[in-house]
Amino acid sequence: MTTMDLRVSPLGQVEGDLDVKVTITDGVVTDAWTEAAMFRGFEIILRGKDPQAGLIMTPRICGICGGSHLYKACYAVDTAWGTYVPPNATRIRNIAQACETLQSMPRYFYAIMGPDLTAAQYANAPSYEEAARRFAPYVGTAYQTGVTLSQLPVEVYAIFGGQWPHSSFMIPGGVMCAPTLSDITRSHAILDNWARTWLEGQWLGCSIDRYLQIQTWEDFLAWMDENESQHNSDLAFFTRWCMEIGLDTYGQGYGNFLATGTFLDPELYQHPTVDGRNAALQSRSGIYAGGQYFDFDQARVTEDITHSFYKGTGALHPWEGVTDPIDPADGEAQGKYTWAKAPRYDVPGLGYVPLEVGPLARQMMANRPDAAAHQDYDPFVFDMISKVGANVLTRVLARMHEAPKYFRSVKKWLGEVDLHEDFYAKPAEPASGKGFGSTEAARGALSDWIVIEDGKIANYQVITPTAWNIGPRDGSENHGPMEKAFIGAPVQNPDFPVELAQVAHSYDSCLVCTVHAYDGKTGRELAKFRMGGG
């Protein structure tokens, strides 16, 4: 038996800094540690500031999902202040949130997931030439159009938000813009062009309506071979290629999921409250753990810092959350190894279970029975997971499955905007309050908790999807969800551990990653590998 430790530092093609350390025994990952290498401290910046400061600052946490940060930061203040939000404003917020995610999907697929699909170790697989022709970075035929056209959905964001990224146009009580008819028609035209050229033309090879008839895994497999156009689509080819190179065989994770949901119903959430949120969601919230569904309740969320570079141990609810950083060198002496906290959820009867967030989690919730008329019901991904399991392939399929669904929603909201009605209602600004705002960024549940006292921010905590997924072990030594997903992954070549990149990229984490290789017995560093060379 041979055991070695591998440290990937930084893992490439993620949006920040992530180090991955793995122990490999006989060519299979047997243990893993994910290490967020950068301290952010936005919570500390925001303390003592104007209650609306989060609208300026939190969109700057991320360059790819800043609009999602704005969406939830705004609802955090809406709920704390008890605002009235006109239905038009909610529609515009939803359009912007969805368009940002529509940008992220193809950009993620071709720029982050795609390049490793052409790794040299797959050169002997039968379809390698075709994979390289499509997905090779910069020169691949699909890469070029996919990445270039991904800018179109955020053109629509800019029409309403002025710019993407880093707009602050969603404000308590509504939105800043008051669009005109030409803004609406221009948005339709941009999105129709994008759907015709990329979504239907290149990705699906069929109409959105045809694709969304898929209800089961068998439907999907039949769809792939229904005709030449669908067979040759990027989606069908990607699926076949993943099966050829085994991406449907690892990256499972816990199989337990959390979604906080997004897209508030314009009519049902005119008076945003924390308690009224679940019922007003179009894309539903919930927990799926131990084979059962549970309602999401923000009061059950905690962040555990036992293994994170913060003072102390244990877990706190974000309204009581503390961000008190310590020197990583001192932290390491206490068994701490990352800047990420470990978000956990107290599942009734199961306790503090690590939960995966992201499109797979969202689509698992979409299968939950008893959806209201305004809520998304969609059994496809649940059916797929129950038949072939969570893995690198199905995690990516769940993500891309949302593109046609979001597209359809945006078109509907655009059609419902009433240009002669209000887009904003000036709110009262009470001096104290507690708020919770949340959404689903492309990569998963994204939430803010705000406490306002004396007209200033007394406490502010952000939990990002990447923290849920790449967070470390907790006080009970449970692995974080992505750490768990690495375990069992094969590593054919420790000098180029592309499998680790594929697991990490299937989550689309927003951190840049590095792998370091260590000999498990001597602790000697064997190799340092920067994935993707990015």
């Binding site: 053109e155 800019a158 938000g161 002025g162 710019q163 146009f169 813009c177 005109t180 007209g455 200033k456």
Partner: protein, 102 residues
């Protein structure tokens, strides 16, 4: 909002900001101020201005509740206020109406 200037009430830093947003456009489509969003001066030294202190976000900082604390380069408070007052006084009625909806 479709009417009025963002500078006087909403903390717009457009007059003090040297940035080509309205010339090159964001995402080939628009800019903050075109979309009714007060400029936050995010390309200027000192951003976020006013350190995001209580009462500074999307609110124009004024002296004695009337005169904006910051004016564009080359302007003093007196002449800027006189110019603004004159502009307001002579603005035709149509410029105050919400006439560009459809």
């Amino acid at each position: 909002m479709r009417t009025g200037c963002l500078f006087y009430e909403f903390g717009c830093r457009g007059p003090m900001t040297h940035s080509p947003c309205n010339r090159i456009l964001w995402n080939r489509q628009s800019s903050k101020t075109r979309a009714g969003h007060p400029c936050t001066g995010c390309t200027e030294p000192g951003f976020p201005h006013g350190d995001l202190a209580q009462g500074t976000v999307f609110k124009t900082q004024k002296v004695a509740g009337v005169i904006p604390k910051d004016e564009p380069a080359g302007m003093d408070a007196g002449s800027y206020m006189a110019l603004a007052g004159l502009s307001r006084a002579v603005a035709p009625q149509w410029s105050k109406e919400d006439m560009f909806v459809v």
